[in-house]
């Protein structure tokens, strides 16, 4: 009953005219920007972050969440209609694009919309039930436990997003080091500022995100010089009843898978989609059709995508540790608005927390009633050639970074990170773990130093406490497993071709 009461309280906050408007704007703008080639959720959120600065805290958080799932929906739209994959919509390219080839674009978009709605609804129930309970557990965490948890998060994210533990961990470390720039909170010493006063407060979150994800991606697109043919097919949205019935079982399966995978460290939409798709191929009634443009192939992954996107808020809002790069960015945005996510957030700002949870569901409704019919108009953005589009995106990047602090120096910082992001892209280093390291860096240092202070300089504190000890053991197991895989690969390679 508590849940119902809390949700009702949340809806009371989310259903004001003011907040409804921000939710709707967030969803539509997010979808629109998410459609643009090369701009995934990370770039979209950081690009639109400055828009929320002049809004009150509650409205700003609601709008940001709207931007996030709008961006995700936009990603899957460009995947279905034109097979443009973003990190968050690789699976949608498979069956979704096949359906477009069969002339069933409208049905695919409708399926994605309805499944997202189902996935989102299931996830919100999970979120409302689990977040407060997990928050109570988190209050028992000491600094050593937090340190171990963050390290565990680094290991999971590195493995999931890049597939290579070493690359990912290295990027996390680079992010942590970048987070060191600025004034040290404990001693007041300015570190790595090179005597530049605007670096005293550290490097801006928006500058790092827009540089690494925005500028670098644009340049990469320019390098490939491909011109895309705009989508020109007809879109018939409403499905027939038998088609509609096929959506439900897959979407429900996807919702459960997505809700679960969304909570785990390193989890989130990407891995959830693959898992849901794989399960559908095993158990669906129409499993033979999957891969050739089946409704199930779109429904399951879209539901999992949306469900995982929602439940990945759980670790952020209950423990205060983001589990992936998008959530790290969200955390940065929360902090800019003066809210520290964590166990105390629900107690101190129940209106914000429950309002945000309720607005997620409202955002789902907006996606369904606003965006699904609007898609054909939004798609017209692809009629604009890229040579017109990219100067405009660059302009928005500039305005975005400038308006965080009204400082032009930040534009130079963004350009510097653009160069770094481009070098990393070309070295096939994924910048997503860097983002997580950058946000968690200062927290990691703080907790690390505090736990050593409490243990009088003994490193055993990380192993002897039950929570941190378990996490450390898991990390060790993971590293050992990866090392054994590497050794086996090298041996295999030697046997095939003796040098």
């Amino acid at each position: 009953m508590d849940i119902l009461h809390n949700l009702a309280f949340g809806f009371g906050h989310a259903l004001t005219m003011h907040n409804l408007m921000f939710c709707a704007i967030g969803c539509v703008v997010g979808t629109f920007v998410g459609l643009l080639p090369g701009l995934g959720p990370l770039a979209t959120i950081s690009l639109l972050l400055p828009l929320t600065f002049s809004i009150d805290t509650g409205g700003a958080l609601i709008m940001l969440a709207g931007i996030y799932y709008g961006a995700q929906y936009g990603d899957s739209v460009s995947a279905i209609t034109m097979k443009i994959p973003h990190a968050s919509s690789i699976v949608a390219c498979i069956d979704g694009y096949q359906m477009t080839l069969k002339g069933k674009t409208g049905l695919a978009l409708f399926t994605a919309g309805v499944s997202s709605f189902i996935g989102g609804t299931v996830a919100i129930v999970v979120l409302a039930a689990l977040a407060p309970a997990l928050g109570e557990v988190a209050l028992k965490f000491g600094p050593a436990d937090y340190t171990a948890l963050m390290l565990f998060g680094f290991v999971c994210v590195s493995f999931v997003t890049t597939g290579s533990l070493l690359d990912g961990l290295a990027m996390c470390m680079v992010g942590v080091l970048l987070g060191q720039i600025g004034t040290d909170v404990n001693s007041g010493v300015a570190r790595y500022t090179m005597g530049l006063p605007f670096l005293m407060d550290g490097v801006g979150l928006v500058s790092v995100a827009l540089g690494c994800f925005g500028i670098a991606e644009i340049t990469k697109n320019l390098d490939s010089r491909e011109e895309r043919t705009p989508f020109s097919g007809k879109i018939k949205l409403m499905p027939t009843w038998p088609e509609f019935k096929r959506i439900i079982p897959s979407a429900l399966r996807g919702s459960v898978v997505g809700s679960f995978l969304g909570i785990l460290p390193g989890g989130g939409p990407v891995i959830a989609q693959f898992a849901a798709y794989a399960i559908d191929r095993k158990v669906s009634k129409y499993k033979d059709e999957i891969g050739t443009g089946a409704i199930e192939g779109v429904a399951g992954q879209a539901a999992a995508d949306e469900a995982a996107a929602r439940t990945s808020f759980i670790p952020l809002m209950s423990i205060g540790i983001p589990e992936n790069a998008v959530m790290a960015l969200m955390m940065g945005a929360f902090i800019i608005k003066g809210i520290q996510p964590g166990p105390n957030m629900i107690a101190q700002h129940p209106d914000l927390f429950w309002g945000l949870v309720a607005s997620m569901w409202i955002g789902n409704c907006f996606l369904l009633i606003l965006n699904v019919p609007l898609v054909r108009y939004l798609l017209s953005i692809f009629k604009i050639p890229y040579v017109v589009l990219f100067p405009a995106i660059l302009f928005f990047c500039c305005v975005g970074t400038y308006s965080v602090n009204n400082s032009l120096e930040d534009v130079f910082v963004t350009a510097a990170f653009g160069l770094m992001g481009y070098v990393m892209l070309r070295l096939s280093l994924d910048p997503a773990p860097l983002m997580l390291g950058f946000i968690l860096g200062p927290m990691l240092e703080e907790n690390f130093r505090r736990s050593l202070l409490l243990s009088r300089g003994s490193f055993t504190v990380f192993v002897t406490r039950p929570i941190s000890g378990t996490l450390m053991a898991l990390i060790a197991l993971f590293v050992l497993w990866q090392m054994s895989v590497f050794v086996r690969d090298v041996r295999k390679a030697r046997q095939v071709a003796p040098a």
Binding site: A170, L177, Y386, L394, F395, C398, S428
Partner: protein, 140 residues
């Protein structure tokens, strides 16, 4: 030196060296009371090991070619820097015009007329941001 895996390791090791040498200029402190240099030195040592490890590992793997288009990234960075400098010394309208005309050099085709239209539209959007959303853009 065109092997991507080797360059990746060297790049990471270089980042580690830069931050690690920087850290030694601050007070390291000791374990129970760490100074401002302690944590960055520890992290960059770890990163250096990872980077060096990758560089060594690349010797056991097939070399992969690296593609790097200096022209495009230089044009983009140059136009961003030009935008910031012009906005600072002249005004943001000139910065926007420069940004459009400079960055489109990286595009597939170049048209002065089209660039003029893009600039005009972006300046109009900037005015909307300034008046409507209250962003403090130094437009003129």
């Amino acid at each position: 030196m065109k092997d991507r895996n080797l360059l990746k390791g060297l790049f990471l090791a270089a980042v580690a060296v830069i931050f690690g040498l920087g850290a030694t200029r601050y007070d390291i402190g000791h374990v129970e009371r760490a100074g401002p240099g302690f944590f960055p030195l520890m992290v960059s040592s770890f990163l250096f090991l990872l980077g060096a490890g990758m560089a060594v590992r690349s010797r056991f793997m097939k070399p992969e070619a690296i593609y790097f288009n200096v022209k495009n990234i230089a044009i983009i960075l140059g136009s961003l820097a030009g935008f910031a400098a012009l906005s600072h010394f002249v005004n943001m309208i000139s910065g926007i015009v420069f940004l459009v005309f400079a960055s489109t050099l990286a595009g597939t085709s170049y048209s002065i007329r089209r660039n003029a239209i893009i600039s005009a539209v972006l300046v109009a959007i900037a005015f909307v941001f300034q008046r409507g959303l209250g962003l403090q853009l130094p437009l003129y």
